[in-house]
């Protein structure tokens, strides 16, 4: 009966105004507090986009530049930087590899590449998006030139496709101006960071500033290594579970 009382007379318009103000306030509050549940670009890591829910790499099998098998097992208990590129690439790929080399030296300079933080090491991969031209021997001539510790990976075109696409790496061939075999490959130029459980945890978009990436990597590693490698559990999943329980 209270309803009838309020919904008539001057009360009604006052109530509408109050409700309006409250809705507006709620809107502002929601707008301010809303954060994408999956991706956030936090000030905490200025050069990185963090994936709050890490993207797992699917089962794959590639060949490293020495002809050895490389599978998701090779990602376990290591932080891994990945760049997708190709060896017939004049500007973007050498630039990215030199940047990765500078990240490497920044970390090596403070002796941080060895497995001292929770027994977790760091590795750098160059995965070709042009397996037709980038054979094992091509990669062997190319990748170690930039850093002898870097690992070049190639494999079946379908296999590389199935790894790259879920990680948001896109690429396509562009025919050469003079000869078909001189084609270029347009491709994403982000450096990806894979966590020690083989899941993509962060993306470094170009232009890359090695010193900043090294610094962000230190902080990301500090924040997430324990979560993924000591407790083993997916913290983000726990959060989602609690949230659902609260809703009920």
């Amino acid at each position: 009966m209270q309803y009838n009382y309020i919904s008539s007379g001057p009360f009604k318009s006052i109530l509408v105004v109050i409700a309006g103000i409250m809705l507006l306030a709620l809107g502002i509050w929601l707008g301010k507090s809303y954060k994408s549940p999956v991706v956030k670009k936090a000030d905490e890591f200025p050069s990185a986009t963090i994936l709050e829910v890490p993207v797992p790499l699917l089962q794959f099998s590639l060949s490293d530049h020495n002809g050895n098998l490389f599978t998701p097992d090779n990602l376990m208990r290591k932080w891994t930087f990945i760049f997708f590129g190709y060896t017939h690439c004049p500007d973007v790929c050498p630039t990215a590899l030199v940047d990765m080399n500078n990240i490497y030296h920044n970390l090596a300079g403070t002796n941080e590449l060895i497995e001292k933080t929770f027994g977790v090491g760091t590795q750098f991969l160059f995965i070709t998006v042009d397996p037709e031209r980038d054979t094992v021997s091509e990669l062997k001539d190319y990748v170690p030139f930039f850093n002898e510790h870097f690992i070049g990976l190639t494999g079946e075109a379908d296999m590389i496709d199935s790894i790259a696409r879920p990680l948001g790496i896109a690429y396509r061939r562009v025919p050469g101006k003079y000869a078909a075999k001189d084609y270029l490959v347009d491709h994403s130029a982000s450096i990806l960071l894979i966590d020690p459980l083989g899941r993509m945890r962060a993306v470094f978009s170009p232009p890359h500033v090695p010193k900043m990436i090294a610094e962000d990597f230190r902080n990301i590693r500090g924040k997430y290594t324990e979560e993924c490698c000591i407790s083993g559990d997916e913290k983000t999943e726990t959060v989602i579970f609690d949230y659902r329980k609260e809703k009920k």
């Binding site: 060896t87 017939h88 690439c89 004049p90 500007d91 973007v92 050498p94 630039t95 030199v98 080399n101 500078n102 030296h105 920044n106 300079g109 091509e138 001539d141 190319y142 030139f145 948001g168 896109a170 690429y171 396509r172 562009v174 101006k177 003079y178 001189d182 270029l184 347009d186 491709h187 994403s188 130029a189 982000s190 978009s205 170009p206 232009p207 890359h208 500033v209 090695p210 010193k211």
Partner: protein, 156 residues
């Protein structure tokens, strides 16, 4: 002794002549070629082109005795993908400069006769639309830093 004197004279004259032309042509600063693995098919050259004249100068063609072909390219990012866009020519407006740098404008050096090593020099011949052409020698470096491996990228 005589030889070195005439050499000195020659360079003094050369210097005088070249500074007389300095305001007519495009000057090239901080030119470098990114070193590449021995088997590389392509390389890139970067530099700053500065036009001190009072009219636009257009770079129309670049050639080198050390490469089969040289193209002017611009790397651009479209929806997260890096594309290389060939440029027919490269205008350098009067009184300003154009920077060729990693991830942006660059000269794509295609088909090296033999891949030059770090510390080598690459000769480039720059042709402009006013008929002027300019030969430059460009050092090969791993990176555009002079201070060694622990570089800082200060240009972003």
């Amino acid at each position: 002794m005589k030889k070195s004197l005439s050499a000195t004279l020659f360079f003094v004259l050369l210097h005088l002549v070249s500074s007389a032309y300095a305001h007519e042509q495009v000057s090239v600063d901080n030119a470098w070629v990114r070193s590449a693995p021995p088997g590389a098919d392509v390389m890139a050259a970067y530099m700053i082109l500065k036009n001190e004249s009072e009219e636009t100068r257009v770079l129309t063609k670049v050639s080198s005795s050390m490469f089969n072909r040289i193209e002017i390219h611009r790397t651009e990012m479209h929806e997260g993908i890096m594309k290389m866009i060939p440029q027919d020519s490269l205008p350098v407006p009067a009184g300003s400069s154009v920077t060729l740098e990693p991830g942006g404008l660059h000269l794509m050096l295609i088909g090296p006769k033999s891949v030059p090593k770090e510390g080598d020099e690459v000769d480039l011949n720059l042709k402009f639309s006013n008929g002027h052409s300019q030969r430059i020698k460009v050092p090969v470096r791993a990176d555009n830093n002079k201070g060694g491996k622990m570089e800082e990228h200060g240009h972003h």
